[in-house]
C-alpha cells in the first residue's frame, strides 16, 4: 500500500486544492436546494437540472468561442446559459409540484430522466460537440495572499467562480436568516396557511424559490463543464445532483454547514481520484465515494432531524386549506 506517497505535503496540498475546486458545483446546487426546500418544495431533480445546465453552458461557450474567437467572455455567457437552463427546469418543476400539485418525488424523478436523456440526445445530435474542448476561465490567484506558503496555494489560487461561490454562502445565509424575505421563505416552508392568511402569495414565494434553487443547480452544472472540465460527456455530473440532495439534509438546511459538507465531499472526491491514479488495486476508493451518503445517514441518525426539517416540506399547498 503506497501510504508513504499519500502523506506528503505536495500530495496534501494537491488534494486540498482539488477538493475545494470539486466542491464548488455541488456547493452551488446545495445552496439553491436549501432555499427551495426552506420554502417547502423538495426538488429531487437536481441531477437532471445540473446536466441541463452543464450542456447549455458548454454548448453556448463552445459555439461562441468558435464564432467570436474570444476567450473568457464566451465562458461567462455560457455560465449565464447554464443558469438560465436551470431556471427553465425549475419552472417545469414548479408547474408540476406547485400548480399541478403532482407528487414531488415523482416530479423530481421525471426531471432527472428528462435531463439525462435530453442532454444525451442533444449532445449526440449536435455532432460539433463530440470531441470539442473549450478554453473556459483562467485561474485568478489573489495578489499577496496567494504567495503565502501552503495556505495561499490551497485557498487563493482558484478561478473567480470559486471566490464568488464562497461569497454566495454568506449571501444565502444572510438572505435566509437576516432578511424579511428570508423569514417569508422559512415561514412558507413551515406553515403555508399562516403565510397565506397574512396576505402573501404562497404560490409566488414557492415558485421563486424553486426557480432560484434550480437556476443555481444549473449554474453548478455549467461550472463543472465550462470552468473545470472544459468538456461535456454524457452523464458528466456523475451523481453530483444526488450528493447535493444528501448534503442538504446533512447541513440541516444551513448554508455554512453545507459549505463544510461540500468541502468534505470535494476532498473525498479528490482523494479518490488521486488514489485511483496511484494505481493501487486494493485501495477501496469506493468507500470514499460512499462517504457523503453514509455521513448524511449518520448525522440524521444521531441528530434530532425533526427539529429543523421545514414542516411543510414535500406537501403541496391548496389555496384556502388550513
Amino acid at each position: 500500500m503506497p501510504w508513504e506517497q499519500v502523506f506528503t505535503l505536495t500530495f496534501l496540498i494537491a488534494v486540498l486544492t482539488a477538493g475545494i475546486r470539486l466542491a464548488i458545483p455541488v456547493l452551488l446546487a446545495v445552496l439553491g436546494e436549501i432555499i427551495t426546500q426552506r420554502s417547502g418544495v423538495m426538488n429531487l431533480g437536481l441531477e437532471g437540472v445540473m446536466l441541463m445546465g452543464g450542456l447549455a453552458g458548454f454548448a453556448t461557450t463552445y459555439h461562441l468561442e468558435q464564432w467570436t474567437g474570444l476567450t473568457e467572455l464566451p465562458a461567462w455567457i455560457g455560465l449565464g446559459a447554464g443558469l438560465a437552463a436551470g431556471a427553465v427546469m425549475g419552472l417545469l418543476m414548479a408547474v408540476l409540484a406547485i400548480t399541478w400539485r403532482t407528487d414531488q418525488v415523482v416530479a423530481g424523478i421525471t426531471l432527472v430522466l428528462l435531463g439525462q436523456s435530453l442532454t444525451t440526445y442533444l449532445y449526440r445530435a449536435d455532432t460539433a460537440l463530440g470531441n470539442a474542448r473549450i478554453t473556459g476561465i483562467a485561474l485568478r490567484p489573489i495578489p499577496w495572499l496567494s504567495n503565502i506558503p501552503v495556505i495561499g496555494e490551497i485557498l487563493f489560487n482558484h478561478s473567480p467562480i470559486t471566490y464568488l461561490s464562497g461569497g454566495l454562502v454568506v449571501l444565502c445565509s444572510v438572505l435566509l436568516f437576516r432578511t424579511n424575505w428570508g423569514l417569508q421563505i422559512r415561514a412558507v416552508g413551515e406553515n403555508p396557511a399562516a403565510v397565506a392568511t397574512s396576505g402573501l402569495s404562497v404560490m409566488r414565494l414557492r415558485y421563486l424559490c424553486t426557480l432560484i434553487g434550480s437556476a443555481m443547480a444549473g449554474l453548478g452544472g455549467a461550472v463543472l463543464t465550462v470552468v473545470q472540465l472544459n468538456l461535456f460527456i454524457e452523464g458528466v455530473t456523475a451523481g453530483r445532483g444526488w450528493i447535493a440532495i444528501a448534503l442538504v439534509f446533512f447541513s440541516r438546511w444551513n448554508p455554512f454547514v453545507a459549505l463544510g459538507g461540500a468541502l468534505l465531499f470535494g476532498i473525498a472526491d479528490a482523494l479518490q481520484f488521486r488514489i485511483q491514479a496511484l494505481g493501487s488495486e486494493e485501495m477501496p476508493y469506493e468507500f470514499l465515494l460512499m462517504l457523503p451518503y453514509v455521513l448524511t445517514l449518520v448525522v440524521l441518525l444521531f441528530g434530532n432531524a425533526r427539529d429543523q426539517t421545514p414542516a411543510a416540506l414535500g406537501t403541496p399547498y391548496t389555496k384556502g386549506e388550513r
Binding site: 428528462l114 486494493e282 468507500f287 460512499m290 451518503y293
Partner: protein, 350 residues
C-alpha cells in the same frame, strides 16, 4: 312536495369532468407530438421514425424477445413499488435494493460454482431476495425507529448499494485473469434456464405470475386491504387499530424483495457476472413505470412493455435514421409529464 323536489340538483360539473377518463390518453398524445417535433428538428420524419420505432420493438420474434427481456426487470421493480406506493410508502431505493440483490445472488454464484443448477438457481434467487429485503429493511429501520425521512433513507442507500457492487466486482470477487474490474463469468448452472428454445428465461414467467399475485394480494387479500387502508388514510387506519408501522415495513420489505429478485435475475441472465454497471437505471425508471401504470398490476405491465419498447425500438432508430438512441428516454419523460399534466388538469375543480 315530491321526492324529486327534495333532492338537491347536483352542481353542474365543469367540462373537464367529461374529459377526465381520457386525460392520460391526451397526455400521451401531447407527448408523442412533442417528441415528434424534436425528431423533426433533428432532421428526420417523425412519422417514419415512429414506424421504425414500432417495428424495431415489435416487428418480429427477435425484436419482441428483446422488448420482453428488457421489460422484465422494469415490471418486477414496478410491481413491488405498486405495493409500496399503494401503501403511500415512498420507497425510491429500488435501485440500491436491485444492486444488493444482484450482489448477494452473484456472490452465491461465484462461491458455489460446483452446485447443480436445481440447487444453485433457487439459492441465488433466495439470496437476491434477501439482498433486497436487507436494504429495504435497513431503510425501514432507520425510518420507523429513528424517524428519518423515508425518501432520504432509501435515496442514500441507493448509491451505497451501487458502490458496494462496484467494489465487490473490482476487489474481492474480481477475476484474477481478466483485464476489466469485473468478476469471472458465472458457470452455466448459475444462469437461469431459458423457456423452451427461445431467448426468454423463466424470470419472464415469474414476472408474469407476479402480475396476478400482486393483484390478488392488493385487492383480494386481507393484508392488501390493510395496506391500502394505511395508504388511503393513515390516521383512520391507526384509529381502527391497525399497526401502521408494521404495515409500512411490510410494504417496504415486499417492494425490496421484488427489486432484489429483479437484480439477481438480471445478473444471472443478462450480465452473467458482477460488473461495474449492472443496471440501466431500472430502479429509478421503475418508479415512473409504476406511476404511469396507475399503480395497478395490469397498467404496470403495459407501461413496462411500453418503456422497454421505446428503448429497444430506439436502437433501430439510431441505426437506420441516425437519431440518437437517447430519444427513448426523452419520450419516456415526456409521456410521464403528459400523463401527469392530463391528470392534474382533469382533477382540477372536480
Amino acid at each position: 312536495m315530491t321526492v324529486d323536489q327534495l333532492t338537491p340538483t347536483p352542481p353542474q360539473k365543469p367540462w373537464t369532468h367529461r374529459v377526465k377518463p381520457f386525460a392520460p390518453g391526451i397526455g400521451v398524445l401531447v407527448a408523442l407530438i412533442l417528441s415528434g417535433i424534436l425528431i423533426q428538428l433533428s432532421g428526420a420524419n417523425p412519422f417514419e421514425a415512429y414506424k421504425v420505432l414500432l417495428l424495431g420493438a415489435f416487428g418480429g420474434t427477435r425484436q419482441l424477445t428483446e422488448t420482453i427481456l428488457k421489460a422484465t426487470p422494469l415490471l418486477l421493480i414496478a410491481l413491488g413499488l405498486t405495493i409500496a406506493f399503494r401503501t403511500k410508502v415512498w420507497n425510491i431505493g429500488a435501485e440500491g435494493q436491485y444492486h444488493m440483490g444482484a450482489l448477494l445472488g452473484g456472490i452465491v454464484a461465484l462461491t458455489l460454482p460446483n452446485l447443480p443448477a436445481v440447487l444453485l438457481i433457487p439459492l441465488m434467487m433466495i439470496s437476491g431476495i434477501l439482498g433486497g429485503l436487507l436494504w429495504s429493511g435497513l431503510a425501514g429501520l432507520l425510518h420507523l425507529k429513528r424517524g428519518i425521512n423515508l425518501i432520504i433513507c432509501t435515496l442514500m442507500l441507493n448509491y451505497i448499494g451501487m458502490l458496494m457492487v462496484q467494489y465487490g466486482a473490482r476487489v474481492p470477487f474480481r477475476d484474477p485473469d481478466g483485464f476489466l474490474p469485473e468478476s469471472a463469468k458465472f458457470v452455466e448452472a448459475a444462469q437461469i434456464p431459458r423457456l423452451f428454445s427461445s431467448r426468454l428465461h423463466i424470470g419472464v414467467l415469474i414476472a408474469l405470475v407476479l402480475v396476478g399475485v400482486v393483484y390478488v394480494l392488493l385487492w383480494r387479500s386481507p393484508l392488501g386491504f390493510r395496506l391500502r387502508a394505511v395508504g388511503a388514510q393513515i390516521s383512520v387506519a391507526r384509529s381502527i387499530g391497525l399497526n401502521t408501522s408494521q404495515h409500512i415495513l411490510a410494504a417496504l420489505l415486499l417492494s425490496g424483495a421484488f427489486a432484489g429478485l429483479a437484480g439477481v435475475i438480471e445478473v444471472s441472465y443478462t450480465y452473467t457476472r458482477l460488473k461495474q454497471s449492472i443496471s440501466d437505471s431500472y430502479g429509478f425508471t421503475g418508479i415512473l413505470v409504476a406511476l404511469l401504470g396507475q399503480m395497478h398490476p395490469i397498467g404496470v405491465f403495459i407501461a413496462a412493455i411500453l418503456f422497454s419498447a421505446l428503448v429497444i425500438g430506439s436502437q433501430t432508430l439510431n441505426v437506420s435514421l441516425q437519431i440518437p438512441a437517447a430519444v427513448a428516454g426523452v419520450v419516456q419523460a415526456l409521456l410521464v409529464l403528459g400523463v401527469l399534466a392530463g391528470q392534474a388538469i382533469a382533477q382540477r375543480d372536480t
